[in-house]
């Protein structure tokens, strides 16, 4: 397919859309699906059919709209309204919604798009999520999909594309924040006949589901980003390494790949050029460390997903010892808008060193749990209180955990901090993939630290000694403290051992594993001391709070 042919499809798709005067988009991403949005979709569809309005009113299954707390979510246009929490078991309500499409929205369920949760977002990565049908490639093409890819292939040199990404200032969205363009240029310059592009969709951070939503809602966006990357670095083969826990994402990716191959947008001779790029999905098997790039590569090779020392970096020697470009889902999803709108446009968004937007999964003790995309640098307070709607039940804010098991807990005094890579780092946490878990005053920080150490201990691959034994020792120490058997010296040991593990572990998992401990010891030392000296947990979360306190020392 050539660029012209693609534009023809887009044009006819847009023509078809014009005939539709009313649209009811129903979210069928995993969150809403678990609240039976598929039933809502079917009933709405039937209701429209009953009224003979199929020609003008389109009920469409779309991806994630973000506000999971209010699912199943539906959007009705031109009413310009969202509907929240639609009951799948009440056809009357759904019928009333269809009846109202020309008038005022049904008030009990209506939700204005003007509330901060929606209005304060800037959707770039998620621009198509909730708008298009993720299982129809024509929908994606209708909103300009694959034009960036074919334009690159037809009109731009490989170097030019790499330069565009460098200029944009885009940094890896998987956690580390390494400049994406730099990575691309390393792979582009690396010597090797065979090169690979791998998309890291092994979103392992517990409490994060940004990548899942993107894959389920807009899979073509990721595929197109990968293909542009492949073109830029001269790779011909790509893999998407997706978690087995995301069956819907895997299914939609496979559908999308088939559709794109059929239209000649992936596979051999893309856009009738010499450029070929084939993509395969690889399914993970439950190992958090496979989010680390060298471990992920080992897993794609069919081995135990165990990290290897770097250097050599995958950019020079990765999959099958060939130069390999590895980016995560959100990074690839940023490529198309950068190529379409230019590096300057992208660089104008965000902060000095962190450009663009970031998708966050806002979860935990916050009213509006869900997925949001905001410009880098937005204040934590706005995220939690404005978009997030604050803490439920008038409880007090205690901390927000970012960066998953590699991150830290950020206390109240940082609420007015603008969120970007640097600020989070300086507060003792990391951006990570974008999970943001809000905790209210009832959370026990010793318990939280123990939770994360239990996680990393369990997920440690066991290859290097500091991580294998160090995480076990750290966890044991936290366990003793939570049982009221801790000693004050333990706090120093936590720090000493934590620092050692950070400095000596082989891979990112081990090097960051002590972060949840060190950040909580730093900001919530009082709570540790209380567990040790009073042998009680004020929040009642730890085992020591359940046993009668034995205050007698040794």
């Amino acid at each position: 397919m050539t660029l012209d042919e693609l534009q023809e499809i887009a044009e006819s798709e847009r023509e078809a859309q014009k005939k539709i005067t009313h649209r009811i988009n129903v979210s069928v991403a995993a969150g809403c699906l678990s609240l039976h949005s598929d039933v809502v979709f079917n009933i709405l569809h039937e209701e429209v059919k009953k009224r003979g309005m199929e020609e003008s009113c389109k009920v469409k299954a779309v991806g994630c709209m973000g506000l999971c707390a209010a699912g199943p979510l539906v959007r009705s246009e031109p009413q310009h309204t969202y509907y929240r929490g639609l009951p799948p078991d009440s056809p009357e309500v759904l019928s009333a919604i269809v009846d109202s499409i020309n008038g005022r929205p049904v008030p009990e369920f209506a939700l204005s798009p003007e509330i901060p949760f929606f209005a304060a977002q800037k959707r770039i990565v998620l621009e198509n999520c909730g708008e298009i049908d993720p299982e129809r490639i024509e929908d994606y093409i209708g909103v300009g999909g694959y034009q960036s890819l074919l334009t690159c292939i037809a009109k731009r040199s490989r170097e030019d594309v790499v330069q565009e990404i460098i200029k944009s200032g885009l940094r890896g969205r998987g956690g580390g924040g390494y400049p994406t363009g730099l990575k691309w240029s390393m792979v582009a310059k690396a010597a090797g006949e065979q090169k690979y592009v791998i998309c890291n969709a092994d979103e392992g951070d517990p409490g994060a589901f940004m990548d899942r939503s993107v894959l389920e809602s807009d899979p073509h966006r990721v595929l197109e980003g990968m293909a542009i990357a492949a073109y830029a670095v001269a790779a011909t083969k790509g893999y998407i390494y997706c978690r087995a826990e995301y069956p819907l994402a895997v299914k939609r990716l496979k559908v999308a790949i088939r559709q794109a191959e059929k239209l000649g947008l992936l596979g051999k001779r893309i856009g009738e050029s010499d450029f070929s790029f084939e993509v395969e999905v690889r399914i993970g098997a439950g190992a958090f460390v496979c989010g680390e790039e060298t471990a992920l590569i080992a897993s794609v090779e069919g081995e135990r997903g165990v990290p290897r020392p770097r250097p050599p970096f995958p950019a020079y020697s990765g999959l099958n010892h060939c130069p390999t470009l590895l980016n995560n889902v959100e990074t690839f999803a940023n490529i198309v808008p950068i190529v379409r709108n230019g590096a300057e446009w992208f660089a104008s968004i965000g902060t000095d060193k962190s450009k663009g937007t970031k998708v966050f999964a806002l979860v935990g003790d916050v009213v509006n749990t869900g997925l949001i995309e905001v410009p880098m640098g937005m204040k934590l307070r706005d995220l939690v209180y404005s978009l997030g709607g604050g803490i439920p039940d008038n409880k007090k804010f205690k901390a927000v955990q970012t960066g998953g098991p590699s991150g830290g807990c950020i206390p109240e005094q940082f609420l007015d901090m603008g969120v970007d890579y640097e600020s989070l780092m300086s507060a003792g946490s990391i951006m990570g993939s974008g999970g943001m878990i809000v905790m209210d005053e009832t959370a026990c920080m010793v318990d939280v630290a123990k939770f994360f150490m239990d996680f990393t201990r369990d997920e440690s691959c066991g290859k290097c000694i500091p991580c294998r034994v160090g995480t076990t020792q750290l966890h044991g120490m936290l366990e003793r403290i939570s049982e009221g058997k801790g000693r004050m010296e333990d706090l120093d040991t936590l720090e000493r051992l934590g620092n050692m593990v950070k400095r000596t572990a082989l891979c990112g998992l081990g090097q960051t594993a002590p972060n949840p401990v060190s950040s909580t010891v730093r900001y919530f030392r009082d709570e540790y001391v209380q567990h040790i000296t009073n042998k009680t947990c004020a929040q009642g979360k730890c085992p020591c709070s359940k046993a009668p306190s034995t205050a007698a020392g040794k």
């Binding site: 517990p206 994060a208 087995a244 826990e245 399914i283 190992a287 997903g305 997920e459």
Partner: protein, 169 residues
């Protein structure tokens, strides 16, 4: 390249071996396909056992110790047959903050098994998940493949009692 090891016979007449063989063929019997093939085995048979691992090892020409090492490295692969029903409790951070740890303890008490085990009567397997990505609808439990958002302890308990015949204990 090595020729296809056509000499490896299927372990039995069970048709599911054909599915396994098809996956291996699709990947050209390459060693790198090991994990994909193990996925197919588990999908087809519910778990991995000696027979299947030996079959896969000899078909893909991978040392048996390595196949076993890979199979036991990944938590997704199970070496034991699953129970009739499966209950997955998400212990991701979002769910944990919302009390999934307590929920898990309740289920463990209820079913008299620990996470990762199956009841002796084979009725129920209890699984802990690291995060299923339903964080905003925490706590999430997956019962026989269906995600239960904002899972309530008593509702889950009721469901489980129906399966494991709690009263007879």
């Amino acid at each position: 390249m090595q020729p296809y090891p056509e000499s490896v016979p299927l372990p039995s007449a069970d048709k599911r071996w054909k599915l396994v063989e098809a996956t291996m063929r699709r990947h050209g019997y390459k060693a790198s396909a090991l994990i994909e093939v193990l996925h197919t085995v588990q999908e087809s048979f519910g778990y991995l056992d000696d027979t299947s691992l030996r079959f896969v090892a000899s078909s893909l020409r991978i040392p048996i110790s390595k196949v076993f090492g890979v199979a036991t490295y990944y938590h997704f692969f199970s070496m034991k047959p699953p129970g009739e029903h499966t209950c997955v409790v998400c212990l991701g951070t979002g769910c944990y903050v919302k009390g999934s740890g307590e929920l898990m303890k309740m289920i463990e008490r209820e079913a008299h098994i620990c996470a990762g085990e199956t009841t002796p009567d084979g009725k129920l397997s209890l699984v802990a998940a690291r995060c299923i990505g339903s964080c905003s609808l925490a706590p999430a439990v997956v019962i026989d493949g269906e995600v239960i958002p904002r899972a309530q302890a008593n509702a889950v308990q009721e469901q489980l009692r129906r399966w494991i015949g709690h009263d007879s204990r």
